[in-house]
């Protein structure tokens, strides 16, 4: 990229991300929802001793995440079109490296390969925040870097320990079939937790997120919120649950409590923010709490809701961050007070912002409603109190998002910005419109999404319920599927094969 001029770099990056999207899109139709094994696999020997493979594959859990990544990246390039003015080539190169690593994380079927991708995005993300970020970017960048690295080094130890206990293999599927002693599972779970909970981020480990979100450029914030955070929950789902079922069950109360704290605490923090990006950052903590909650109630509805919510959060929060980026380019301020009263000068923008905000608070008809509903159904099967507390998060989300919308869209305009505000350009509309379409598509007709993940989620639960060490702890998870059918609330989640 250093050979190209700066404007060519933008076009190259856009072309590359779009090409990626067009390569990824057919997977949606080629994917066989009935198949229970990995699809589109690739298996090439990489390192002989120990046996490490360049092994890729997709299942119903990684498919939506890969597509989301491929879809979000062109939008990130578009969002940076005019806002990045210095070192454009380096910026675009970093974006592309990020995309490689992020897609790699979701499709890697070898644990070491996964770790390589997982860590490879540290440096480009560090540069994205640190070079092109806001005023306090140095602090935010190194904080992000050290938090994530500190979490993930323990993951490496856990991977190595699993290798020796799991029959000298790094193959993720083989390791998921293994049986491990309960005390070992506890340790491994904690090591996994360190890596994944930092990324999500779960409640006590979330403090890097507001800093990183606020200081990162728009594209960086979008990548962080839409994709990076999902890697943490993906990790829990792909590794913690199937490989360490006993420890997962053992730690479920802790995980649920932490999730609920994140939901409520994140929402309360969001209420208090005067900075738009910080508000959305804390709302991410809250929304990701729903995802971890859904994962750790350990039943079909909860996990399906969680996976769907991962995609939803990527779409909705990505949209919100793009909106903040749009307005920041015009007013050079992220404060709510400086951006008040946009309905009159920017009606189209205001309309889209309202849609994203409504989707984020889980209005029926939008995507988040379906995801959060499934999560809450799953939680209800586990504990009614937890469901009640988690629902509180939805109410609080309505409060802070509607309040934010009220001020930004309909508030009293700040005089010095008002005259020169222009509505969305075509480029900006083009980057927001696909997200709006997805919001309503998933909100009104989630079946294509849910049916594709159904079998894989069932597999995960299957591999958990195969009593490995403690046969008494047979979960109610398998019973949960008919329960949903009885309730009749979400008939569309039913796979025809069931």
């Amino acid at each position: 990229m250093y050979l190209a001029t700066e404007s060519a770099a933008k076009w190259i990056a856009l072309a590359a991300t779009l090409a990626d999207l067009f390569v990824a899109l057919p997977l949606w139709w080629l994917f066989d929802p009935q198949a229970s094994q990995m699809q589109f696999t690739e298996h090439v020997a990489w390192i002989t001793s120990p046996p490490i493979y360049y092994s890729l594959g997709l299942d119903g859990i990684s498919l939506p995440l890969v597509l989301m990544t491929a879809g979000i990246m062109p939008l990130c390039v578009l969002a940076s079109w005019n806002s990045i003015t210095t070192k454009v080539r380096g910026f675009m190169a970093s974006l592309l490296v990020m995309e490689t690593a992020m897609v790699g994380v979701f499709v890697a079927m070898d644990f070491v390969l996964f770790y390589v991708f997982w860590e490879a995005m540290l440096i480009p993300m560090y540069l994205l925040i640190g070079v092109w970020g806001g005023a306090n970017r140095l602090y935010a960048a190194i904080k992000f870097f050290l938090y994530t690295l500190a979490g993930s080094v323990l993951l490496l130890v856990a991977i190595l320990v699993l290798y020796f206990y799991g029959g000298h293999t790094f193959d993720i599927l083989a390791l998921s079939q293994g049986t491990y002693p309960a005390s070992l599972q506890t340790w491994l779970f904690l090591a996994f937790f360190a890596a994944f909970a930092v990324k999500v981020p779960m409640f006590p480990l979330h403090t890097w997120l507001p800093d990183a979100h606020v200081e990162a450029p728009t594209a960086g914030s979008v990548i962080l919120a839409s994709i990076l955070l999902k890697m943490g929950t993906y990790g829990f789902l792909r590794f913690s649950l199937p490989m360490l079922p006993d420890a997962s069950r053992y730690f479920t109360p802790m995980m649920v409590v932490l999730s609920i704290i994140a939901i409520i605490y994140g929402a309360y923090m969001a209420l208090a923010q005067i900075d738009l990006k910080k508000l959305i950052a804390y709302s991410s903590v809250s929304h990701m709490g729903f995802v971890t909650l859904g994962l750790f109630v350990l039943n079909q509805q909860g996990i399906e809701g969680a996976v769907l919510q991962m995609v939803n959060h990527g779409i909705t929060t990505g949209g919100l961050f793009l909106c903040v980026g749009v307005i920041y380019e015009r007013t050079h301020s992220r404060l709510i007070a400086d951006n008040a009263g946009l309905a009159a000068p920017m009606p189209l923008y205001a309309a889209l912002l309202v849609i994203f905000a409504l989707s984020s608070l889980g209005l029926p008809g939008t995507n988040s409603f379906v995801g959060e509903f499934l999560v809450l159904v799953g939680t209800f099967l586990w504990s009614k109190v937890a469901t009640a507390l988690a629902s509180l998060g939805i109410i609080l989300a309505a409060v802070y998002l509607l309040w934010m919308t009220q001020r930004v869209v309909f508030g009293v305009p700040s005089p010095h910005h008002f005259p020169k505000l222009k509505d969305l350009t075509q480029r900006e509309f083009a980057m927001l419109a696909p997200l709006v379409i997805l919001i309503f598509w998933i909100g009104l007709y989630p079946n294509p999404f849910v049916s594709r993940m159904h079998q894989s989620v069932a597999n995960t639960i299957d591999s958990m319920s195969r009593a490995k060490v403690a046969p008494t702890a047979h979960p109610s998870a398998r019973r949960a599927v008919p329960l949903l059918a009885d309730s009749g609330e979400q008939p569309k989640t039913q796979d025809p094969s069931q």
Binding site: Y2, E119, I123, Y126, I142, A150, L156, L160
Partner: protein, 495 residues
């Protein structure tokens, strides 16, 4: 002559290196200043010839050629290290070419000393007798003392040389004392006889333990392991940068090679004892190295502490080798050290090559602050430095990750998962100071008031060194298979 024929043939690479060294020193006074480059090329040519010879010496893997009545051994293990050392020495020579000219100390005998130090290292890695190894160590150290003080006009260079000499001589004395005690026990200084004597007397014999400790201390100095690391920061900072690179990489690799041979072949019976000793040393080394590096403002000093920390990581592999039981018998641990040091060579040589050629108003810019805004002025140089720093921090997909991966894998296999966890947490600490260099290069704008911003003085030789280093870091980071296979094969002759 015919009596010694096979012996001399076995030592042919060493002889060629020594002969070339003498030739270079003799030719130096009769070579005009403008043609001194030829001496460097002569040295590199000798290295290339030796590479071919060493590669050809071992045709079948399990052969151990003993020469000079078992004083010297030529085996796959020695071959691995020699090939690495040839590479290190040639890159050092290429790095020195522009460096010495800029520093105005371009004298031919410099290349002679590099070759002499190299021949010492080669004797170390091939020594089958404690005295041979000691002789190699001394030859290497004496040459390095001189090279450290090579920049005669700089007081710091001289001070470093004096410090290095005094402490180095002291440590050699301790090493020699340990050797003499072992001689008293075994009646011989051959590693084989020592192994037998130690086996006969058992690990509880106080004399055996004392001599083991003394030898460990002597090697501890050479490896720069805590608490014998005190000389490292001063010497690394004071020595000409190309010499620092040679010391940090070549001397460390050769010392590790000899150290491993002595402790595995000679003192292998005391595994249980020395693995505990080195467990303490490795933890102390990587903790102190990483923590103290944080507060350094001089990048050569920072890399000195980082090289201490890296010795700590490599020692983990050695602890794992000592602790491991079962069929593999410590092979993964020993091989992991070889992999680690080979990969460490690339990134460290690359980093020092950048540092040596970074000039600020004609003076070497060796403060971390001098890197401020380098990404803006010289994006390629800054990007290379970024890769070297990421690799030193052990972030995939660079070579540094592969090195750490194998060391920790050996540690986990030996049941030392907790040690791997501690070491990795200190790797996060190390990421902080490595990333600080990236931060000043990429995220700070150059101070407009400073008259002469630092920039990299490029030259074909430097470009070559950087290209080799970055190719090694990236290629072995992505395709480590050849190196890993080579190390795993070579380590088998160590027994």
């Amino acid at each position: 002559m015919s009596l010694y024929g096979p012996d001399l043939l076995a030592l042919l690479p060493e002889l060629i290196i020594v002969a070339t060294a003498c030739l270079v020193i003799v030719l130096d006074p009769v070579t005009s200043a403008s043609r001194r480059d030829l001496l460097a090329w002569l040295s590199v040519g000798a290295l290339a010839v030796c590479l071919g010879l060493t590669g050809g010496q071992i045709t079948t893997l399990n052969v151990r050629v003993l020469a000079f009545s078992d004083l010297v051994v030529i085996d796959a293990y020695a071959r691995f290290w020699k090939i690495l050392l040839y590479g290190v020495a040639s890159l050092t020579i290429f790095m020195s070419l522009p460096y010495l000219k800029i520093e105005r100390v371009h004298l031919g005998e410099y290349y002679g000393f590099i070759l002499l130090a190299l021949s010492g290292m080669m004797v170390m890695v091939s020594g089958a007798d404690l005295l041979t190894i000691y002789l190699g160590t001394e030859l290497m150290s004496l040459s390095l003392y001189v090279m450290t003080g090579f920049n005669r006009s700089k007081p710091r260079s001289l001070e470093a040389a004096a410090k290095y000499f005094v402490l180095g001589a002291f440590s050699s004395g301790i090493l020699l004392y340990g050797i003499s005690l072992l001689y008293g026990l075994a009646g011989s200084t051959k590693l084989v006889s020592i192994a037998n004597a130690v086996g006969a007397r058992g690990a509880d014999d106080p004399l055996v333990l004392i001599s083991t400790i003394l030898i460990a201390v002597g090697f501890g100095f050479k490896l720069a392991a805590v608490p014998f690391h005190m000389w490292t920061p001063d010497v690394y900072q004071g020595a000409p940068t190309s010499v620092t690179a040679f010391m940090a990489v070549g001397a460390k690799a050769a010392s590790f090679a000899a150290f491993m041979r002595v402790f595995v072949e000679g003192l292998g019976g005391l595994k249980a004892d020395w693995s505990f000793l080195f467990l303490l040393i490795s933890v102390a080394t990587l903790v102190l190295g990483n923590v103290v590096a944080i507060v350094q403002t001089n990048i050569k000093r920072m890399l000195a502490y980082s090289s201490i920390a890296h010795a700590g990581y490599a020692l983990i592999g050695f602890v794992a080798a000592g602790r491991s039981v079962g069929a593999s018998g410590g092979t993964p641990g020993l091989a992991s050290i070889m992999i680690y040091l080979a990969l460490y060579s690339f990134m460290t040589l690359g980093a020092f090559a950048v540092i040596g050629m970074l000039r600020k108003g004609g003076i070497e810019g060796e403060e971390i602050e001098d890197f401020t805004g380098l990404a803006k002025r010289q994006p390629v140089a800054a990007f290379l430095m970024l890769i070297f720093m990421a690799s030193l921090a052990g972030i995939p997909p660079t070579a540094g990750f592969i090195g750490k991966f194998y060391v920790f894998m050996a540690a986990v296999e030996a049941g030392l998962a907790w040690l791997a966890a501690i070491a990795l947490i200190f790797a996060v600490v190390s990421a902080y100071y490595y990333m600080r260099v990236v931060m000043v290069m990429y995220m700070r704008d150059p101070n407009p008031s400073s008259a002469a911003p630092s920039c990299l003085v490029n030259s074909p030789a430097l470009s070559f060194v950087l290209a080799c280093a970055v190719a090694g870091v990236i290629l072995f980071g992505v395709f480590p298979n050849p190196l890993v296979g080579f190390a795993l094969q070579s380590v088998l002759t160590l027994k």
